[in-house]
Structures are given as C-alpha cells and as structure tokens.
C-alpha cells in the first residue's frame, strides 16, 4: 500500500533550490526547479555520510538534471538518483506530486 503525504507548500521552496522533508524516519530532499517541476531523492550523501543533498546546487550536466553534493560535489541525477561520477553509486528516488500548492511525497515503505 502507498499513500501520499503532504510535506510542505510549494512556496516553502525557493525556485531552483531544495528542502529536506522528514517522512517517517526518511530524510527526503525535494527540489523545485524554476520551471515549476519538482523532484525528490534521498537526502543522505553517500560520500560524506552527511544528510545534506537538499542543500546542493541544482542544474544540468549534458542535459541530465542533477544536484551537486555540497560536501564533495559529486552529482546525482534528480530523475534516477544515479551518481554521474560513479554509476555504481546511487541514492533513492521518491515519487512526488503537487496538489495545488501542496507538495506530496509517496510513502512506499
């Protein structure tokens, strides 16, 4: 079973930045791009072991939407969670959607 959890309003996220939402025990980094789209991946940075991915700079590399870890600057795909520097490493990807202004994350665990 899965249900959608409202975590914040779109307003809470400055365009082209991220925030971190706590859903159960999970830390989820949610990004709002300046075209209005939203993405969600794990907040845990597998390289520094710190919960900081939501604080990274978002952008694109060769067309792939990414966030750069603020610690050692590895890039993670916002779509697949894959690390661009090392395909063997990835972070989880979460389903998100907007309901009006409300940002919902799917609890699938």
């Amino acid at each position: 079973m899965s249900d959608w959890i409202p975590v914040c309003s779109l307003e809470d996220i400055v365009p082209d930045t991220g925030v971190c939402a706590l859903v159960g025990e999970q830390q989820i980094a949610i990004f709002r791009l300046n075209d209005g789209s939203i993405y969600a991946i794990g907040n845990h940075d597998p390289y520094s072991q710190a919960n900081v991915l939501s604080r990274g700079i978002v952008g694109d590399l060769k067309g792939e939407l990414v966030v750069a870890s603020p610690v050692y600057k590895q890039h993670f795909s916002l779509v697949s969670g894959k690390c661009l520097e090392d395909p063997a490493v990835s972070v989880p990807v979460y389903a998100v959607r907007l309901d009006g202004d409300s940002v919902l994350v799917q609890r699938a665990f």
């Binding site: 365009p15 971190c20 939402a21 520094s48 952008g59 694109d60 590399l61």
Partner: protein
C-alpha cells in the same frame, strides 16, 4: 502597402555589402541597383590575382541568386547619368526615369591620371577593373617594356602585374620614396632595394612632363629634369578620385578635393540620399580601403531601417601588403605626427628588415608602426595600437628579434579583450570568433564561413588562426578557461559580458550567453560576478539558488553537515568583552572553539537551525560576518606595531583595521588574504598574502600576489614608501583589476602567473595607469565599499531568509545523523565506529 523605392548607384564591393546588410534586416524596400560595369560586384582588392590565374568568376562576391532571391532589380552595364533630387528620379543610360524614395551612392572612385600631354595615347591604361586588366594583358602580349606611373600602394601592385606579364618593368614616382603615404624614408629605401632585386627599375623624383613617340619603343616619357624613358605600355596609378560627379550636379555638397560629404549616418546633405564607400567624404576624409566602406554600408543600411544607434566614426587605415613577395605594413600614426611621439627603430640591412615603433610621449601607448620585410607581428602590433593595451616596460622588445625561440613579452591574443576588433574588413571581434569556435567552428575554413573573418584582405589571417588555436587548446588541454559546459567563456569574459550588458539575473546571463540550466560551477561563479558588479544581498531569492552551500547558509559546512561560525575580528584586535561574548555563545550552544590560523576565532558544530539564533546574539554584541564562507576578503592579519612594539615604525593595527573594514564583504574570484606588519621584521607574514603591507620610515611598502596554502609563493613588491591615501588607491586598483580579470578560483598568485607581462604589467596598470582605467577601478571599488552591509545582520532581519535555516521543512526535530563525541573537553563529530548503530541504519 506599396513598398518604398530604393535606388543604388554602383554595385562595387561596398554597394554589394550594403545590399546584403539591408536585405538581412528588412524587405520594406523595392530595390533597383545600377551597375556601370558588365558584371556584378567582384573582389577588387584581389584584382591582381587575375594575373595569377584567377578568373572573373573566381573574384565574384555576389552570392548565387542573390538578386532573384530578394526580388531586386540589377541593371548591369547601365550607368546613372543624372539625378533630379527635387522630383526624386534618376536617369540612366537605358532608362529615362526611375523614381526613388531613398537613393544611395556607392560609386567608388576612378583612377587619377595626371594632366600630362600625351596621356590619351594608345596603350595608356589605368588599373581599376577587370576590363582594364584584360586590355593590359592583351597589349602586353605585343610589348616588351612597361611603365607604371606612381609608386604608391596600387602602383606597386600594377608593377607586379606587369612583371608577371613578362615585361621589363619600370616604376616612375614623383616623390622621393616609394609608398610615401605609408612609409618613411628608411622603410622606403629598403622596399626599393628589395623590389629592385626582383628586377624592377625604380625612378624616384621624376615628374612626367609629356609623353611622345619613342624611337625604339612606342612611347617616350619626358621628365621635368630633362631625362627620358622609352616604353611600349603605360599604366597610370597616381591615386584615386571619388566619383562624385552625379552628386555634384544634383546639388549635394562635395569636398574641395572631391568626395560626397556625409554625416555619421552616411547621409549626404540631402537626408534622402546616402553615400557609402570610396565616393564618400566624412569629416574631410575619404577612405580608400574596403573596411571603412563596409562599416559605412552597415551604418547606412541600418539607418534606412530606422536603427539610428550605430554611426560611422572614422576608421583605421592600417595596411598590410605583400608586394612582390615583400611584406609591408603600416599601422596607425606611422609617421609619428602626434605631438611628442617617440620612435623606436630597428634595421637589419642584411636580412632586409625594417621595423619602426611609434609610441606616445609618456611611453604608455603605441601609436603606430612600420614593418618592412617581416610582417609576423602585424596583428599584435595593430591590436596594441587599436586597443589601449599598455606597452611593456621595454617597448623595443616588441620589434627586436627574439633569440632562442623565447616568446615575446606582452604579446599574444590572450591579452586582448573580447571586444578587440580582429578583422577590420568584416568587423569581426575576438569575442565573435571565440563564440563561433565554441559553437563548433573548429577549422579555419568553418570559422571563416561562419564569421566572414579573413575573407577580404586576409591581413587578419594569422591572428584569426592564433585565436582559433588558442581556443582549441583551451578546450582540449586546458579546459579550465571555459567555465563549464553551460558557458563558452572564461570568468573574465563572462565578467565583461555581465558588466557591460548590465545583466543582473542568472536567467538573463544564461539565456544570452550560455545554454542549459547551469551547474554548481557556473552558478556560484556568476553569483560572485554579480556581487562584484552590483553588490546585491547574496541571499535575495534570485541569487540564493546560485550560492554554494557555504554562501547559502553564510557559514562553513563541516564534514557532518554542521557549520562553523567565524565572526570578523578586524586586524585581529578584540576586546575582552567581545571575547567573553564569543565564549558565552560557544558555551550556550556547545560549540567547539578554536583560534584559527588567521587571528580569529572559529566556533564549530552549529546545526543549520542554530545559525540564526547564534548570529542574533553575535550581531547584538556588535559582531559582523567574517566571510569565512565566501570567496571574499578573509582577514587582515596584523602585528602589534608602533603602538606597543619597540621596533614598530607605523601603526600597523590601525591600518589593518582600516583595510579590513574597507574591503570586507567584497566578492572576488577566490578568497583574499591580507596582512600589515609594523616593520621589516614582518611578524604579520605580509609577504605570504594576496596583499601585504610592510611599514617603512616613510610610509608603506606594498606587496601583492603572495600565497600560503597548496603552493606557497612570496609576494612581489609593487610599490614603496606610499602614503596612506596612495596605498589605498593602489590596493583598490589592484583588487578591482584582479576581480575583473581573474579566472574562477584563481588566487592572485596564480592569476599573476597567467598574466602576460607579469608583475611589470600589474605595476603599469596599477601604478602607472597604463590602461587609463585607474579612475574607473577606484570608482567601482568605492561603489562596493559604499554598498557594504553585513550579510548576517540583513539575514536575521529577513523572515523569508530565516525560514530557510532549518533542517526539515516539515519538522523541528534535529538531524539525528549529527552525532558528537567529547575530546579534550570539547565536542567533535563522531567517527563511524563511534556512532549509535541505529543512527547509521536509519539512512541506509
């Protein structure tokens, strides 16, 4: 709606360019072009290559189906006979009346034939059109000797043509040297020797009086000094005269010595009539080169479609020629006509090389040059003359031969600004070339096709090549110069674009000059440039997403996701009260406390949501941000100086505080560190800083470009014994120059390494104001100083910003992953083996 009627008289190189400029912008005109010659525009500049096998078709410059495609009428072999400006009609050889709303003269010029008797004899020619060349060729077949009257630029070309036609060739010149306009006596002499060595006979200071029947040959030239010369064929090349006869008859103002007078929009004295190219007279000058004509063509075309912003404001008349295998260049004020001009001259009679450099009286700028026999430096010297680039300390190095292959100082395309005009014929700047390379023009051919650079006189060819090579090298070997995949520019170039374009948002910059969405490389770099240019609060919503996490939270990220706090302690001086505040805050929030390597105090281990609380207390106690998180001024280290130290000669603490307060908050390509020592014992280690100041009996010695860190470098002495005011002026200029031109994450030491001309160059810019930029640099710095505000003070008073200082958007609980252990009486981040097992597990 009926279209306005436009008539163009003349389809030469400039007339053709005008048409291309016009139809590219608008189709609002119905256009008729009259062309006296039997073929549309061709490359007159390359006319002489007709003799080396080029056909009329090869010289054609009109794109295929150009006139059909744009539904224009071209009347070949039809010359305009008169113009009735009041009724706005023209009459041609074949048409009785053609009405116009706007008229453009592009009639060029005709070769001047001196009024000597006998000039109308058979086999006397001029050298201007393909037809001229055809008849010269035909005549040469039955001739043995040819004479060119006129030893100027075109005369020499004509002589070359005659020689190619296997005639015994003579040049007769009225003046005392060849190319009298462009060269001086010495250069003229050298050129003469070279041309004579090729078998051409040169007769100087000969005024032709009359031409009569010869004895052995068809003609005999009688000179004013009584001597004579026999020949079969004569080519007059004694200068050109603008073709202004129609304009004159139509009542337009023409110059005393000819030329249709125009204003800076290329309008004649009748605003509906324009003139462009060699027939036009602007501020008393005619321009016998194609590049200025092209500029006029663009100006007139734009004006005709309502764009009044561009103007024709004169043009550079520098020339580079290869005459009979001899390189000859003349740049700018080659004769040193500017008052106080100074010359440097180098002659090598063995190799046949002559070089003259003309510089301004204060030896700051190059004014002009002459090169004979070796034109390799034409491009660079031309750029030095056109752009206000400072001369190297020893200007003679620019023309002296270099031994052992070492590179010439102060040279190279890298130092040119993006705006530098590289191809003057086609108005192509360095920036445009770099852009084209970035967009995929990786061969010379592709680059020429794309930009048109180097497609006319070819004089800019070597420079275009250098720029191409340089750009390719940068992309291959040294990619670092292009910021990232989103911007095909270096930081310096981007700085220029942002500043000049007054761009204030990342969207504007990337839309205009980049592609994609940006990344963690270009966003902070652009944010830093914004800060250096406009100094807006970095956490404004439009700037916040660009900031690196340290700047985003105005604190330094630590390995476990917490932050450190470094308040500013100007000059390292701190009162006991303030020390107590730091102690109390650290105690209250349980922060690890350390004296840093730069005379201040760092408080570590603050969680993101604690930062505003801590700073509220610090700001209340009078602390300001120390910018330990920014690419900005860190500290100005001081020694105790003359106030206490028995050796101190100046108040180093006061100066350190002044300087720290002046430059705090200013963003730069990389962090900046400074120090002030009170005497030569140098307790503040100023020579290891970007800006180091050491007190002397008479003032201050200023050192720059020092560095500790990864690759230590001692600072270089920039200036000595400065008073307080000059010291600040120099630092202002130095910093602003670095901020403008440094690469991303380039400390001043590595920046210096990358500057051609090195410290000499920096000194010229900063101390001698060789770029004439000093006032601007100081004013820019003053703007930054005046607009300083403590970022933390602003942040804690802005609820929108404060909202972002929380770990979870939907919960106030702290991040459980942050775990400290105790060591030596303070906290430190727990290592993996010291953590609670579930703290690990929760994030898997």
């Amino acid at each position: 709606m009926e279209k306005k009627k436009l008539v163009i008289v003349g389809n030469g190189m400039v007339g053709q360019r005008f048409l291309e400029q016009l139809v590219a912008r608008s189709d609002e005109y119905e256009i008729t072009t009259f062309c006296e010659e039997p073929r549309p525009a061709y490359d007159r500049v390359q006319l002489t290559s007709f003799f080396s096998g080029k056909s009329a078709a090869d010289l054609n410059v009109v794109p295929e189906r150009f006139f059909q495609q744009h539904a224009m009428t071209l009347r070949l072999n039809d010359s305009v006979q008169s113009i009735e400006a009041t009724r706005k009609v023209v009459r041609s050889a074949r048409y009785r009346e053609v009405p116009y709303d706007k008229l453009v003269f592009a009639t060029g010029s005709y070769p001047f034939v001196p009024p000597v008797s006998g000039r109308d004899r058979r086999d006397c020619f001029v050298y201007r059109t393909i037809e001229d060349l055809e008849v010269i060729t035909a005549t040469a077949a039955r001739a043995k000797v040819g004479v060119v009257i006129g030893g100027g630029l075109l005369g020499l070309e004509a002589a070359k043509a005659l020689q190619n036609l296997a005639l015994e060739t003579h040049i007769v010149e009225f003046a005392s040297r060849l190319m009298a306009v462009q060269l001086d006596d010495c250069a003229g002499r050298l050129l003469r020797r070279k041309i004579e060595a090729l078998g051409v006979k040169i007769h100087l200071q000969k005024a032709t009086k009359e031409i009569i029947d010869g004895a052995a040959r068809r003609h005999k030239l009688i000179f004013a000094d009584g001597t004579s010369l026999e020949t079969d064929l004569i080519v007059f090349s004694a200068g050109i005269r603008p073709r202004d006869e129609l304009a004159r008859a139509a009542g337009l103002v023409v110059g005393e010595r000819g030329g249709i007078q125009i204003n800076s929009h290329c309008q004649t004295t009748n605003p509906d009539i324009y003139a462009v190219g060699e027939c036009a007279l602007w501020e008393g000058r005619i321009f016998g080169l194609v590049a200025p004509g092209y500029q006029m063509a663009e100006v007139a075309a734009r004006h005709l479609v309502g764009d009044t912003n561009v103007q024709f404001l004169g043009a550079d008349m520098s020339t580079k020629l290869k005459l009979m295998g001899v390189d000859v260049c003349s740049i700018g004020d080659a004769h040193g006509a500017t008052p106080d001009a100074l010359n440097y001259v180098f002659t090598d009679e063995v190799a046949g090389v002559y070089k003259k450099l003309v510089v301004s009286g204060d030896r700051r700028h190059m004014l002009g040059a002459i090169l004979v026999g070796d034109a390799a430096d034409y491009g660079t010297l031309l750029q030095m003359a056109l752009n206000p680039l400072p001369l190297p300390e020893h200007p003679e190095d620019l023309i002296l031969p270099v031994r052992d292959g070492s590179a010439r100082k102060g040279m190279g395309v890298d130092m040119l600004p993006a705006s530098a005009l590289i191809c003057s014929c086609n108005n192509v700047s360095k920036g445009v070339l770099c852009e084209a390379v970035a967009a995929g023009c990786t061969s010379l051919l592709a680059l020429k096709n794309e930009t048109r650079a180097s497609t006319s006189c070819g004089g800019c060819g070597p420079m275009v090549r250098q720029i191409l090579d340089g750009e390719l090298r940068k992309r291959g070997v040294e990619v670092k110069n292009h910021l990232c995949e989103h911007f095909p520019y270096s930081r310096q170039e981007l700085f220029h674009l942002i500043r000049v374009g007054s761009l204030k948002t990342f969207d504007a910059v990337i839309t205009k000059h980049g592609q994609g969405r940006g990344c963690d490389i270009c966003k902070p770099a652009v944010a830093s440039i914004f800060a250096s240019c406009w100094n807006e609060m970095i956490l404004k919503p439009r700037h916040a997403p660009l900031q690196d996490t340290n700047d985003y939270y105005l604190a330094n990220l630590q390995k476990n996701g917490t932050y450190s706090i470094v308040p500013r302690v100007p000059g390292g001086e701190i009162t006991p009260e303030k020390l107590l505040v730091l102690g109390n805050v650290a105690k209250k929030y349980g922060l690890y406390t350390k004296i840093t390597g730069a005379q201040r105090i760092d408080l570590f281990g603050a969680r993101v949501e604690q930062l505003p609380l801590i700073w509220q207390e610090l700001v209340a106690a009078g602390f300001e941000s120390g910018h330990a998180y920014g690419k900005a001024l860190r500290t100005v280290k001081s020694c105790v100086g003359s106030a206490w130290c028995r050796f101190g000669v100046q108040d180093s603490v006061q100066m350190a505080i002044n300087i720290e307060n002046r430059y705090r908050g200013i963003r730069s390509p990389h962090k900046l560190k400074m120090a002030v020592s009170g005497c030569t014992r140098e307790c503040a280690e100023a020579q290891g800083k970007d800006v180091g100041i050491i007190a002397t009996e008479n003032g201050w010695n200023l050192y720059v470009c020092g560095n500790g860190g990864i690759k230590p470098r001692h600072a270089d002495l920039l200036a000595v014994d400065l008073d307080d005011k000059t010291l600040i002026q120099y630092i202002d200029r130095f910093l602003m120059f670095y901020i403008r031109t440094g690469d991303r994450l380039q400390r001043t030491s590595t920046w210096l390494d990358s500057l051609e001309g090195g410290m000499d160059y920096v000194r010229q810019v900063v101390c001698d104001d060789a770029l004439g930029l000093a006032d601007e640099l100081e004013a820019d710095m003053q703007k930054l100083v005046d607009s300083y505000e403590c970022e933390w003070k602003k942040a804690i008073n802005d609820p929108q910003i404060m909202k972002r200082f929380r770990h979870f958007v939907n919960s106030d609980v702290p991040d459980k992953n942050v775990v400290f252990v105790s060591e030596r009486g303070q906290i430190r981040p727990a290592r993996a083996d010291e953590r609670e097992p579930e703290a690990e597990a929760e994030t898997v």
